[in-house]
């Protein structure tokens, strides 16, 4: 290792910071190879666009979950909120309701945000662990959704509204760009800017990394945490809209595993449960990994029962890899800064870092 030049170390440090990309490439290669052996063109533009199109929904939920994981919490209520809000206002989105779909959409987002605010307040004011608080919210609102709708299913939605999940814009050589892709990209860009280039984003990272230090340096950590849960659950509401538009229906039992998928996505994407670490682009990588595996296994005609096994192994492996690479990156960066000091002739000066 000692003979390594500065440049190669820098490259290594950069690579170590991109574990989601590495996982994504590995998964893509494995499935592309396996499928090529079977004589299926896995990497065809149309297949890629299908995978990315499906992943968009998961990207939005994943962003929501990541925000909460960033402040050291967890949001188990996402699926239940999706079901409850869409069931509550879904009747207004029906084809023959004659109401502008924008109104129920906004109502759904507002209700979701309100529920998120409620769980945030429970966590900060009543001092209930996030896991338990959001679990209680999940149970209660899933139950309320069943109570409200009974055994009915809301079906046949407004055409214009369904565009947000089914709309296609244009085709580039077999790769069709769809509305969900644009929406997901918009969200990714927005949250990238929010997390990296605004005060609020820095405060989120700081609160997650060390709540006590953040509080002592004048950040209203309670407000930050409540806001994180509010935004997260509002995003779940938006994902609910897309889910409903794609299926053209909604029912109280929908999206029963979404919170798990969201956690999987953000963990593969490099977020750490203790908070304070992670980049929003990892979420996109994680979502694409999950759907690559799903679509790859479907095209190989493997049984669906194996899916959750592979997901389980993948989570353990991804978290292990993220952890190891993060340590390595830190070590390399320390080495690099030592070397830089040496070049500057300051290595003998104590107290400079």
């Amino acid at each position: 290792m000692k003979s390594n030049s500065l440049v190669s170390k820098r490259v290594q440090a950069k690579l170590s910071g991109m574990s989601p990309v590495i996982i994504m490439l590995v998964v893509f290669t494995i499935f592309a190879l396996l499928n090529t052996v079977q004589g299926i063109n896995f990497l065809s533009p149309s297949n890629l666009s299908t995978i990315i199109n499906q992943a968009c929904f998961l990207i939005i939920v994943g962003i929501g979950q990541s925000l909460v994981i960033l402040v050291g919490g967890i949001n188990l209520s996402m699926g239940a909120v999706m079901a409850f809000t869409t069931v509550l206002w879904g009747d207004m989105l029906l084809k023959d309701s004659g109401i502008n779909p924008l109104i129920p959409s906004l109502l759904i987002l507002a209700t979701a945000a309100l529920i998120g605010c409620f769980s945030g307040l429970m966590i900060t004011k009543l001092n209930i662990t996030p896991y338990i608080a959001t679990f209680a919210v999940m149970y209660a609102f899933r139950g309320l959704a069943w109570v409200y709708l009974r055994n009915r299913v809301i079906y046949n939605l407004d055409k214009g509204f369904r565009e947000i999940a089914t709309g296609r814009l244009f085709k580039v050589g077999g790769f069709s760009v769809t509305v969900p892709m644009l929406i997901a990209l918009g969200f990714l860009l927005f949250f990238y800017v929010l997390l990296r280039h605004t005060n609020f984003g820095r405060q989120l990272y700081f609160t997650g990394a060390n709540p006590t230090a953040a509080r002592f340096s004048g950040i209203n950590t309670n407000r930050i945490i409540v806001l994180a849960y509010t935004i997260s659950t509002a995003l779940a509401g938006f994902a609910g809209l897309m889910f409903m538009a794609r299926l053209n229906s909604t029912e109280p039992g929908m999206a029963s595993k979404t919170h798990f998928e969201a956690i999987t996505v953000s963990l593969i994407g490099g977020f750490v449960m203790t908070g304070g670490i992670g980049s929003i682009w990892g979420v996109a990588g994680g979502a694409i990994v999950v759907f690559t595996i799903q679509s790859g296994m479907n095209s190989l005609q493997l049984p669906g029962e194996l899916q959750s096994m592979i997901n389980g192994l993948l989570i353990i492996f991804a978290v292990f890899l993220n952890h190891t690479l993060a340590n390595k990156k830190m070590q390399l960066e320390n080495d690099l800064s030592d070397k830089r000091l040496k070049i500057a002739g300051m290595d003998n000066v104590k107290g400079v870092s």
Binding site: M122, L126, N127, I128, T129, Y131, I132, A133, F135, A136, V137, M138, Y139, A140, F141, R142, G143, L144, W146, V147, P252, F260, I263, L267, M273, T274, P303, E305, L306, Q307, S308, M309, N311, G312, L313, L314, I315, I316, V319, F320, H323
Partner: protein, 374 residues
């Protein structure tokens, strides 16, 4: 407050005359109401409400049914509360219940003797626990994620092995053990109807036995103190000579074993096992343990509390189904109970800490007075 304490002090002085210096320590071991797990109040409240409001709830037959139904969850909440106390969480419990159950059911279906299949099932649970332990301690994956992933793996194994179909077996001479487990220890008839018959199933006896063994091990050996120490501060515990990796692995193996026992409890009555049987059981166990005063941050809580928490859940479910209320409202009520229970726990803890502080202040004052008198 001081006045009310005096008679007891006199009594204790009389009782421990030879060891006067130790009176303070003995006094602090005196039983107080706050020594009980908080969930016992929630349990008593829910139980009293159900007995008063719901007809047929407070009958021997129904209470026996309730306890028998709660067996599996009581066992799982014991395992869950032990891992929570140590600062870990075991989300694989549900998956392991399904997996070990399917393994045992398939063995029984193929005519292998019940003893052997039960032993294989228990070993499978322990092996899976060992796997989780290695992932947590050697690969340094946080227990939440490791067990979350492992639970998915176990559930998927169960689905694959059983091809997503219920596995049933014919009772025969070889499955006598299972028949015995499904039997009753005794039946007392207060009347002719089923509600007036008090039964004591072998399953309940088995559950009580397992819980007693765990509790004795917890109180009488260094298991309990080590778990608390690891949960409160792993680094301090390590410096005090407790090997965290060994204890963590042991707890996960224990969880796997208890999950296997729970799956036996779930399958003996019907002579069959459905592969999705363990679904969501781990969450119910977490809810039970948390209602029982366990914290997800580790280092506090108790096993009896978790068992009480499990009983609270089943009392609610049983009472509401007797009342003819749909399962959807039960979900809402359980969610609300969880929040209320957490708030009660928080208040009880606040009272306990302030009381403790007052007690310490009072004692210090008492000591000073005593010194002056001498």
């Amino acid at each position: 407050m001081n006045e009310s304490q005096q008679p007891s002090k006199k009594y204790l002085n009389w009782l421990f005359q030879k060891r006067e210096d130790n009176t303070m320590i003995k006094e602090s071991k005196k039983f107080t109401l706050s020594d009980l797990p908080n969930s016992i109040y929630i349990f008593l409240l829910v139980f009293a409400l159900a007995s008063v409001l719901v007809p047929n709830f407070f009958s021997p037959g129904n209470i026996a049914t309730l306890l028998t139904q709660a067996c599996a969850l009581m066992l799982l909440s014991v395992a869950m509360s032990m891992s929570l106390m140590m600062g870990c969480i075991d989300l694989s419990l549900g998956g392991v219940v399904s997996m070990t159950g399917v393994i045992m059911a398939i063995l029984l279906k193929n005519g292998i003797s019940a003893w052997l299949s039960v032993i294989v099932g228990l070993l499978a649970g322990m092996l899976f626990g060992l796997f989780i332990g290695i992932v947590v301690t050697k690969l340094k994956v946080p227990s939440f994620i490791a067990t979350f992933g492992a639970g998915g793996i176990a559930q998927s194994l169960a689905n694959t092995l059983s091809e997503q179909r219920t596995v049933a077996w014919e009772p025969s001479g070889k499955t006598r053990l299972i028949d015995v487990l499904g039997d009753n220890v005794f039946v007392i008839k207060f009347g002719d109807s089923a509600a007036q018959t008090l039964t004591f199933p072998v399953l309940l006896l088995l559950t009580v036995l397992v819980i007693t063994v765990v509790l004795i091990a917890f109180k009488k050996t260094n298991l309990g103190s080590n778990i608390y120490a690891l949960g409160a501060n792993e680094e301090t515990a390590r410096l005090a000579g407790i090997v965290p990796s060994r204890w963590k692995t042991a707890i996960f193996i224990n969880s796997g074993l208890i999950a296997a026992i729970a799956s036996i409890v779930l399958m003996v009555r019907t002579n069959s096992l459905q592969p999705m049987i363990g679904e969501n059981l781990e969450f119910q166990a977490v809810v039970a343990a948390v209602l029982g005063g366990n914290s997800l941050k580790g280092g506090k809580g108790s096993i009896p509390g978790a068992i009480m928490g499990a009983l609270v859940l089943y009392v609610i479910r049983n009472a509401m189904s007797l009342w003819g209320i749909g399962t959807s409202i039960v979900m809402v009520v359980i969610g609300a109970t969880l929040v209320v229970g957490m708030i009660i726990n928080e208040i009880a803890q606040y009272i306990a800490t302030t009381k403790n502080e007052q007690l310490i202040i009072a004692r210090q004052a008492g000591r000073k007075v005593g010194n002056n008198e001498k």
